[in-house]
Amino acid sequence: MTWDAVKVILIDNLPFLWDGIKLTIFVTFVTLFFGFILGLVLAWLRSFRFKPIKWMALSIINLVRGIPVLIQLFFIYFGLNSFSFIKMEPLTAGMIGITVNAAVYFAEIIRSGIESIDKGQTEAARTLGLSKIKAMRYIILPQAFRRMIPAFMNQVTITLKDTSLLYTIGIAELAQQGFIIVGRTFASFEVWTIIGLVYFVMVYSLTQISNLMERKLKLR
C-alpha cells in the first residue's frame, strides 16, 4: 500500500468515487422504496384465502429467492432485452432486478412479523368493535413493525451490497467506478481497499441506525 496511490485515488479520482457513491445510494433508496411497497403487496396477496392468488404470490417469492441475483439481472437486461419490443436502459433493468429481490424478502419479513403477534391482540381489538382493517392498522402493525426492525434493516444492508452487482450490466455505481479508477491508476490493492471501506462505512452506519431505532422503539 503506497500512500501516494491512496492520495491519487482520494484526490485526483474523487469525482469518480463520489459519483459512484451517489449512484449506489440513489439505487439503494429507490429499490428499497419500491421493494417495500411491492413487499407489502406480496405479503398481503400471500395471506389471501383464495388459493390461486396465494399460490401466485408464493410462486413469485420462491422463484425469486431460488435464483441468484446476478442471473436475474442478466435475465432481465440481456434476456428480456433480446426481444425487439423491449428496450430497457441498464439502470431500469438493474433497479427492477434489485427491487424484486428486496420485495420478496420484505414480504417474508412482514408476514412473519405480523404472524408473531399474539392472536389475543386481534381478538381484544375486534371485541372493542374495531374492524379488521383498523385492528391491523392500530394494533397489529405498530407492534409487528417494531419486531421487524432487525430483519428489515438486515435486508436493507443486503440490498445495498447487492447493488454492487449492477456493475456487470454497465451501471456506473461504486464498484464500476472502482474498475475505472483502477484503469487510471493501476493501484488495484489501494482502490479495492478504499471501495471496500466505503461500503463498510455505509453498511455499518445503517446497522447503528437500526440498533438505535430498536432501542428507541422497544416494546415496553
Binding site: 391482540q121 368493535g129 383498523k134 407492534q143 415496553r220
Partner: protein, 242 residues
Amino acid sequence: MNVIAMSDVEKSFGELDVLKSVSLTVEEGEVVSIIGPSGSGKSTLLRCLNKLETVSSGTVMVNGQDLKDKHHNINKIRQEIGMVFQHFHLFPHLTVRNNITLAMEKVKDVNKKEANEKAMDLLKKVGLEDKVNAYPSELSGGQKQRIAIARALAMAPKILLFDEPTSALDPETIGEVLDVIKVLADEGMTMVVVTHEMGFAKEVSDRVVFMDEGSIVEVNNPTLLFKNPQNERTKQFLSKVL
C-alpha cells in the same frame, strides 16, 4: 327482557363437539356465572356470544340481533358487548390511557379531550388513576385486568363477558379484580362470567350455570345450586372444588 338468547347452539371444531344443544337466556341486569371442569365448553359458549366463534348450528340473539344475520354489522354489535380475557390482552405498545381511549376515538369518533376525560373517570372507578401514563408491562396482573375492564367499559357496552378473569392472577390480586366486578354487578350491568371462583359465583351471581362435556347440566340460583345440586355430575364437581 332477554339481552342474550341462545337456542340449540351446537359448535364443533372438526370432529370435536364442543357445544351440544346449548340453550341459555340472560336478562337485562342479570349476572350469570358459568362453572364447570376444564374443556366443558364454558369459554367457547362465551366466545359464541360476540362471534369470536361462529356457531355450527342454532341461533344466538344478542340485544335483539341474530348473530347469524349477515346484514348486521358485527363491529356495531360488538361495541355493545365488552369482553375481558383471562390473559388481559392489553395493547403493549400503548399507554394505559391510550388502551382505554383507542376504540372510543377510532370506532366511535369521540374527540380526544372527551375520550381522555372518560378514561380518567374509568380509571378512578377501577382505582388506578395514577397509572394513566404507564405501559401495560409496568403493571401487576391484577392492575392489568382492572385496566382491561376499564377498556371494555369505555365503549359503554350493554353486556360484559368475562372469560376466567382471575385465572391468570396471583391469589393476592384476585380480590381487587373481583371487587371491581362486584361494583359493576351492583350497578346493574348485565354480565356473563366464566369462572373458577366458586365463592365469587355464589356471592355475585343471580344464576349459576354448570356445564360439563359441552352441555348445560344444571342452572339455578347460586344458593340452591351450591347447597342442593340436583344432578349427580354437579354434585361430583362441587364436592371436589368447594
